[in-house]
Amino acid sequence: MASEALPLSWRRIPERYCLIGNSCENCKTNFFPTRKICPNCRRRGKLADKTYSGKGKVYSYSLVNVVPQGFELDAPYVLAIIELEEGPRVTAQIVDCGEKDVKIGSLVKMVFRKIKEDGDEGVIHYGFKFGLVK
């Protein structure tokens, strides 16, 4: 598979590697991924980068058995909506666990993993996933 979406993935590296989002200094709302307009304040909004701690808890989850193309090797995996301690929610896999290990409210922290690969010869896309905190 050719790496056709290269620039698309590359642009997202700060967000995907380091969980850098942004925050509106006017209404104090935190965003992830970054927004270019604060939906609350619009023209009055003032957005500044914000790096999230990577700590959060499970808001909802599912064991995904039928996976999209490119995720076959990881199947089945637990996918979750994680609520970061700073507020924003993100969708990501919870690694190294089974469905029974996860509950709504389980504490998690960000880990760095391969998200997917463009075949054997294409680029590897890395980014955040989450691991359960013991």
Partner: protein, 387 residues
Amino acid sequence: MRDVAIVGVGMSKFGEEWNRGFREIVIDAGKKALNDAKIKGEEIDGMFVGTMAAGSLIGQEHVGALIADFMGLTPIASTRVEAACASGGVAFRQGYMAIASGLHDCVVVGGAEKMTDVSTASVSDALGGAGDQEWELFMGATFPALYAFMAKRHMHEYGTTEEQMASVAVKNHYNAARNPCAQYQNEITIETVMKSKVVASPLKVFDCSPITDGAAAVVLMPLEKAKKYTEKPIKIIASAQASDVIALHSRRSLTELAATKIAAKKAFAQAKLTPKDIDVCEVHDCFTIAEIMAIEDLGFFKKGEGGKASAEGKTRLDGEIPINTSGGLKGCGHPVGATGIKQIVEIAWQLRGEANQRQVKDARIGMTHNVGGSGATCAIHILEKGF
């Protein structure tokens, strides 16, 4: 604004149409609608076609022109409308606005999707485009997974059970078995659902709508003119649409679709009606949990009681509010772009008293609820018997 009426409806048999392509199924539905409206074609001055992913599924864009061409309707204004799984409902609204505004006098609105020309994996990837590609799909999300998130929260917050969800599929198969155009003609049991393979827990294969080829079409005219063509015009008394943030994780609540609630509120206000006035409703049950949330968000049941109401049979043909008499997306099939138009077709049949075995007695007012993606678009219409 002029009053607008539906003068003709038609749909192709939904299913795996191996020997028919996109053009053939669209023309099948279009011809049926035109015949039903008793028009020849010269009257038509505009067309809107809802289709979500023709580019990914059959490599064909510029669908508006393609259909005008093969329907023999060039040089009319023909426009493709895309709003993921709500493409049909949103296209219908475009047609409604075109007539209501006075810009057009006779409009055909079609919806179509040809989904079985590619592998299941490619279909999943194409449908994935209805979510946030960079922050949901890229992370390994699928549509069943997104609705599974909602189901898990609904179970967590309201105690909804997997059996209650299964009852939605059972009811929709029952209705589908009474609809000759439906993909599935078989009834199923709770066990069928519960024992089916888990796709994204807690959702199983039988909680999910299938991959379907299909098309549906309707002909719209100003109400005044409609009476010249049909004895049974169906009046459009509300047309509302709302949007929400595209990624599910960014929504405040996962147990309701804000777009549904807002569009419903607007629609009821336009029609000066309440949920109690609706006799029959087609809701967007792409997954069983979606129907449970829809009947709550539309105001038929209190939040959290949709699962119980479904299990108790309140949404059956003979229930308090018959939901998805067509079989819904689950039983009738879900050719994404066609679904929103098929809902209109079904309600028109119900209001005209032509739904045969699945006819809801004395149906006078019907509603359609069409959702795009995980709820980022919602189109709602209320139709009234115009005779």
